[in-house]
Symmetry: C2
Subunit: 100 residues, 2 copies
C-alpha cells in the first residue's frame, strides 16, 4: 500500500531520536509498544484526534524508532529494536527503563 519511508539504521540521527522521544505523547507510545510488542495507531491514540496521532507516528517513524506496516485496513506498529540496538547500543533500553 503506501510506501512508508523507514530510514536505514545507518541514517539514524541521535539528535532526531532524542527529539522524537522528548514529547510525552510519543514517549508514551514507545513505552506501550515496548510492552505489547506491536499495536495499531488506534490502540495507542489515547483519545486524541487521528491526525495528531498520525503526526506523532510519523515523527517516530522518521526517527527510526517505529516500523509501520499495513495489515488489512489497520497499520501495525512495532519498535525497530534490532536496528536501534545496532546503531545506538543500549540507548533505547536506557531510556525505556527510566521511570517518571
Amino acid at each position: 500500500m503506501r510506501p512508508y519511508k523507514h530510514p536505514a539504521a545507518s541514517d539514524f540521527v541521535l539528535e532526531r531520536l532524542l527529539h522524537a522521544l522528548s514529547d510525552p505523547v510519543r514517549l508514551e507510545i514507545v513505552r506501550r509498544l515496548a510492552e505489547v510488542g506491536e499495536a495499531s495507531c488506534g490502540e495507542l491514540d489515547g483519545g486524541r484526534p487521528k491526525s495528531s496521532v498520525s503526526h506523532h507516528f510519523r515523527v517516530l517513524r522518521e526517527a527510526g524508532l517505529v516500523c509501520t506496516q499495513s495489515v488489512g485496513t489497520t497499520h501495525m506498529n512495532s519498535l525497530r529494536r534490532q536496528e536501534l540496538d545496532g546503531r545506538f547500543p543500549g540507548l533505547l533500553d536506557a531510556i525505556l527503563s527510566q521511570q517518571d
Copy 2:
C-alpha cells in the same frame, strides 16, 4: 552572585532532559563537558554569540544536566553526573557513548 536555579534531582523530568540533548549545540556542549570535566561558557561557545550560548546553558541547567557556579568573573559549568546517575541510572552514559 546570581542565584541560579538548579533543580533538585527529584525534579528532573525525562522528557525535558531528552529535549535538552536533542539540540546539536547543546549535545556538543555536554559532550565536551564530559571530556574536560568543567569549562566556562566562553570555552564552549563554538564562535556563537554570547546570548545564544547563554540560552543553551540555561536549557541545560534547567533540565538538570549542568551545574553552573561563579568563579570570579567566569561561570564554571560541569555535568551533574552523580545526581543524573541517581535519578536516571545509565542514561547519560548511554547517550554520551553514542557516536554520530
